[in-house]
Symmetry: none
Subunit: 376 residues, 3 copies
């Protein structure tokens, strides 16, 4: 990587190291180092941004979807940059999977969010990016680790979006690090197989307003769906929707479902692993539907299904692009978790989904406990 | 600065330095370093973002105003963070001046823009931030230095926005560096005095369509103005408009003036020093007016005047908040500068403004030449 | 869940099941059902979205323009989907007319707005979409019918935007329903003829600040205009501006005019029928101008004129694309209507426009009264 064009001579001038220039140039040089910190090593990047009112709910809590979108943007940049370091077709990386991620601390309007991403593993046709989100209150200097995530991408040729290119290998610090990566790669591969069945899950029938209104705290009562017409700024330069844009919409619907169920301030607590089965092209309409599956004492699990359809290209029809489980919690004024009203289950399907949700809940709890013990 | 809450132990775990853990931890540690590169040292930050279609004109050239807004956001973060490192009132920094800045290379949709900012000088009540903008094509790996800027801020108390707080001093590498900063500080102070007269400049009368339409290539023909109702996302947490938001609106109007004059693809080439005389509060309407002042063979100078008025607080009346000179050039398909149609001057006022514009043009050209020779 | 406030009786009227009403009411009922069906049947759709701070004024009232934009997006999706069900050219539907629409209840930040749209009539080359807007407070479960609208679209070929395609016919529940639709179609056709004269109305001369400032409460005092450079996200995939984007800009200018006149919190009360005479292409600059025409005791009528001009295509020149009358009211802290300062009329033209405005005001009032009696 190098500076291009007529600037190169100018840039050279800036790092002129004659004794006389040292003082004057120090500032510039430092800015330069900072400026290219993310980019000198091709496999790292950092995005930062002040959180604005539109990024948050009316209590000032930044939506989980905003964080997920920033995470995915960072992953997409670092992945695309890396996959274009070889000669051959130019490509853009498509998000295929996000590992389970937890929102460790709520983020607020006015805080600066720093999202740093680094490639941590490469297989022949995919790469893993690890991302860390730090929220900084620039008034108090306090920082909190708000989120950590791992994302899997595959490089798609810009000439032919269906052609998956090869990923240049990264260098590992040692054999153990590589071996750990390979284990994560194999584990997610197996898990992805298992999710294909879920693709067939029918979209829930929306409430029929001619029937009697649904009873409060049932699944049907809070079930919600939204539709979004994909615009140019939702898309990468190859005209496919950013995975982060889809996750933001999913979080939005899940948040509405959660708020309808408990009528209090709610925030995203975690997102189960998400698999992106099929890409969504510019000009499509996406329908995002959310419904409660399981409610514990202090959390709500919401299944979110994303279907896409082209408006003009009728052959394609409607297809399931993504599905995922979001977990929300309800917070009081001091950001302490509130008890959530129990879910009224109706019928066998809802019972099955609730049982499956409970199994995930119990498993996650056990895993958190084990992680905690391991750290002590 | 430190990590807050229950996470601190976890964070500590991640930088565990036992020999056995070194391999595994490197990834995490690096992410952490990268992740906090901008924030561990309080006086630096880097913002990065992919350029979207909405950021650019129909030729794919990113608007100068988008870059100026990112530059100012970076400056605001680094300045606010620094000014809150002491005990006492919390504050937010307000932009008071941007030094003349040049757009060295056009930036395109799909490129990643990295904006890095660092505090380079502090006086008792103000601070200077130097910013560098690097645009990276992540498909080719090419990078170009797109912009360099210097901004001056003052810290305003969040309790009382009219109270200017003291700025904690920064440490300089050596006495020479400090002395250079002091010179820049004194120079801009003198220059700011000189601009107060311009504040009184009447806003140009807009074209009256009941008269005959203006002749092409006159000042009146291309003169344009927009109004914008200030919304929450335009404002800092103390409800005053970000300087960067104002600059983006100014660039938008100037771009329309330039395009109306030459009917070709135009881009921002440079912005003369801008002084922000008075702040603009949430709920105000801002009127931004642009008019051509001087046209050279290949460039157009446009004066932009920003007036603000509160909609609900009728006592305040309308006031001049900012004014500045933007220079635009016209580009062909290969991004080579085109010849610009000459400006038809009408009346004494237009002649005077054109003469003043020509003087700035000649002075800037001489300065660029001198800089070039100095570097050789 | 239930409908709140004074609307409940009106809403109840809509699902009145007397035999006589069945035909007429079916459409509304269907919209309601479809409303939530999502998109399973091609002729129906529902968009939902949480209202954000940027969607509202500083009092938290969501701008009418945001609602109008959502309404038109829903209409555009359902219309485009329907017109692409046949073989032949792919197309996008262009908005040609919106019938008079009333804002029945203010909508607030944090509420979820559900916009449901259904095709209610098709002629050979145009189609009518009926839209219903329900705002839901997801914390209390309260819902209110915020708006009902009817929009007319024509399908434009994506190969050649000037070619209007044929609209596939829809199936009607019975002959009466079809007959009602035909009547609405004929009525709007006649009305559209009448509006062509208004196209020639000169844009109001903007205030000349070199003269003495305008007196408060005159037409000239509050008159406002904005320019907007059309960007990619303002456009459909065939690169023409969404009708909803134009309506949002019109509402923005009208709101500024209203606020300048009365210096209080103002909201959109209704919009008279709008005819979209000519399309606006990507890269154009639109100039949107608003001026008061008539002020009653508690309402302000504002005429809004939209002119468009291509920046790069200088032959085309500037043309009138749309014009419409917006009515605003002023609300106190409890959302009760306030008395509006009377308008100071100057000159014959202003008097004529005020008389015409008064005639519209009286006619609308009579119509509302008649509708009310008919429902009792």
């Amino acid at each position: 990587m190098h500076c291009s064009g007529p600037l190169s001579s100018k840039a050279a001038g800036e790092v002129d190291k004659t004794a006389a220039a040292m003082g004057k140039q120090r500032v510039n040089r430092d800015v330069c180092r900072g400026g290219e910190a993310g980019s000198q090593q091709g496999s790292q990047i950092q995005l930062s941004r002040v959180m604005r009112p539109d990024d948050a709910n009316i209590m000032g809590n930044v939506h989980g979807g905003i964080i997920l979108k920033m995470i995915e943007e960072a992953g997409g940049i670092v992945g695309t940059r890396h996959c274009n370091t070889l000669n051959g077709d130019r490509c853009w990386v498509a998000l295929v999977r996000v590992e389970k991620t937890e929102f460790l601390f709520p983020v607020f309007i006015g805080e600066v969010v720093h999202v740093s991403a680094e490639i941590s593993y490469t297989s022949k046709h995919s790469l893993e990016v690890q991302v860390k989100v730090v929220a900084e209150n620039i008034l108090t200097g306090m920082k909190k680790l708000a989120n950590k995530a791992a994302l899997w991408y595959v490089p798609c040729s810009l000439q032919n979006a269906d052609k998956i290119l090869e990923v240049p290998p990264i260098k590992y610090a040692d054999a153990e690090q590589e071996e750990e990566g390979r284990k994560r790669y194999e584990a997610q591969k197996i898990e992805r197989q298992g999710t294909k069945a879920r693709l067939e899950e029918a979209i829930p029938p929306p409430p029929n307003p001619e029937e009697a209104p649904k009873e409060r705290h049932t699944v049907g009562f809070s079930q919600s769906s939204l539709i979004h017409l994909v615009g140019p700024s939702d898309c990468t330069i190859d005209d496919y929707v950013y995975g982060g844009v889809t996750m933001k919409l999913m979080d939005e619907v899940a948040g509405i479902v959660a708020a309808r169920h408990c009528n209090t301030n709610i925030v995203t607590a975690s997102v189960d692993a998400i698999n992106f089965h099929r890409k969504i092209k510019k000009g499509c309409v996406v329908t995002v539907t959310g419904r409660l599956t399981f409610v514990s004492n202090k959390s709500m699990e919401i299944e979110v299904l994303v279907d896409a359809a082209s408006l003009v290209d009728k052959e394609k029809g409607r297809y399931r692009a993504v599905s995922a489980f979001f977990t929300f919690i309800s917070l009081d004024k001091d950001n302490k978790p509130l008890t959530v009203p129990p879910l009224k289950i109706e019928g066998e399907d809802e019972q099955r989904r609730s049982d499956e949700g409970k199994a995930r809940y119990v498993q996650n709890k056990a895993k958190r406990l084990a992680d905690k013990e391991r750290r002590q």
